[in-house]
Amino acid sequence: VTVKVLYFAVLRDLFGRAGESVALAPGATLATLAETLSERVPGLRAHLGSLAWGLNLELVPLQTMLKEGDEVALLPPVSGGRP
């Protein structure tokens, strides 16, 4: 399966681009994608614990299976601000 991956904020700086297409084996999940990307860009590992995952505009868990043409967004913690 080939998915479109989007990087934002600190991750866009880390990857040096806003997004790319990534080809994965059939049956791949977001966790598979996280591992594939981390092998290529080891700096990603430090962020994995705080990331949320957007799949076709919805927040989904890491175990979610990917299908052809999915749009995956790696979402660092949002801007926050003290209440």
């Binding site: 934002f8 949320a52 505009l57 967004a73 979402l75 660092p76 949002v78 801007s79 926050g80 601000g81």
Partner: protein
């Protein structure tokens, strides 16, 4: 109304969109860019956005507050790109039959926007360096509630 814009937030327009003769309480929150954060002098702020998802999340928040507090009108607007110090980056408004609902809904909307809408803030400091300002662990946990 839900809106993400790259220019100055039009507060007069948002204000008029909150007009509702059945509503006696109107509460507005503006979040503005300030000169300092965590003890550092801020030179400028830039907001980045995953727009289609941000619009979707903002719509969900708005629908929820309209239902939960029986609001007449609700506005959520966010500015992205460079926002000069002193100007508003976010504008939230709630019109409700009574003030208690207006205050509660307004507070809820801004808290939800800060935690669940994919908009990130890049702070450039007087010293020349910059940082993507994330939130604390507690807040990122809230953001991940939906996961």
């Amino acid at each position: 109304l839900i809106e993400i814009v790259k220019s100055v937030l039009n507060s007069a327009r948002y204000h008029s969109l909150l007009e509702d003769k059945s509503c006696g309480g109107l509460c507005i929150f503006e979040g503005r860019v300030r000169t300092h954060n965590e003890g550092r002098e801020v030179e400028r702020l830039e907001y980045e956005c995953y727009e289609p998802m941000a619009v979707r999340q903002m719509s969900l928040i708005r629908e929820e507050v309209l239902r939960r507090w029986g609001l007449g009108k609700a506005v959520i607007a966010h500015r992205i790109g460079f926002v000069p110090i002193g100007e508003a980056a976010v504008w939230i408004g709630a019109a409700a039959p009574h003030r208690a609902e207006a205050f509660a809904a307004c507070r809820y909307m801004i808290d939800e926007v800060k935690h669940k809408v994919p908009i990130w803030k890049k702070e450039t400091y007087r010293s020349g360096d910059y940082a993507w300002v994330g939130c604390g662990e507690e807040q990122s946990a809230a953001y991940k509630d939906h996961a």
